[in-house]
């Protein structure tokens, strides 16, 4: 088992991922340009989350990592979401 036998991602995959990320960026600029009221923030954050998931999966090689690390990363994001939700419960129903 040599290190260079480990999974390596091809250049083309990275190029396609970049194109997708740039497309999503353009999309979010256009969507926030038209006024959709409260939906604007939600849509912008949704697109940002898709972009973050893409970077984590492909650029940061999470798809070829072990299950422990995948769960740890997911856990950290869930923890952060909980912090936000609990804080807002405090602010909105105080």
């Amino acid at each position: 088992m040599k290190n260079h036998d480990t999974h390596s991602t091809g250049y083309l995959t990275y190029a396609i991922v970049l194109i997708v990320l740039l497309f999503l960026t353009t999309l979010s600029v256009f969507i926030t340009g038209i006024h959709l009221g409260a939906f604007t923030v939600a849509l912008a954050l949704l697109i940002a989350s898709v972009k973050v998931a893409t970077v984590l999966t492909y650029f940061m090689h999470l798809r070829s990592e072990n299950l422990f690390l995948k769960l740890a990363v997911a856990g950290v994001f869930v923890l952060f979401a909980l912090v936000i939700i609990i804080t807002f419960f405090d602010y909105l129903f105080r």
């Binding site: 290190n3 250049y11 990275y14 926030t32 604007t40 954050l45 697109i47 950290v76 602010y91």
Partner: protein, 204 residues
Amino acid sequence: MSDHAVHSEHYDREAGKLGMWIFLFTELFLFGGLFLVYAVFRATYSADFHEAASELNTFIGTLNTVFLLTSSMTVAMSITAIQKNNRILAFMLILITLLLAGLFMVDKYIEWSHEFAYKVYPGSEVLKNMPRGELLFFGLYFMMTGLHALHVFIGMILLTINLVKVKKGIIHRDNYLLLENSGLYWHLVDLIWIFLFPLLYLVS
């Protein structure tokens, strides 16, 4: 015997990467705290945040997003190049990443100098006389993009170290943990920006 040696190197790499990820988790919560403050103040002063955000230059923000996303791709490609034992290509790709990071910083410099010219900087009289929500927005804007720019700068130092080590042959096909971890750090800088960009520049 040789089998044992190869195995210990393998596990070392796994542990090294895990350590980097745990460090990245702490970084996420460093910025996460600021995102939380942003979310609460945005909910409290939504009209002021709206007004203040519309004063930022969307073009500069979008340009910086393109620079960072592209640099994330080139640093990821440099790892593939090292794995394929193509050191020259890896060197060139890290160099391109550094150039893109430099462009990001130049863009940031232009943006901030423009704001400073209008006397918009932390602690300025203009800022103090703004409505409370706008003051908070600009405070968060300078803090978040400033802390992010500091991370870009640290990333540039890391990439430069990698550039030298690839050139000297210290980083090669069987030993590229430093490049992998620096790459992970660079992607984190990208991740933070992916959230900062819509929240500061687009949602106005």
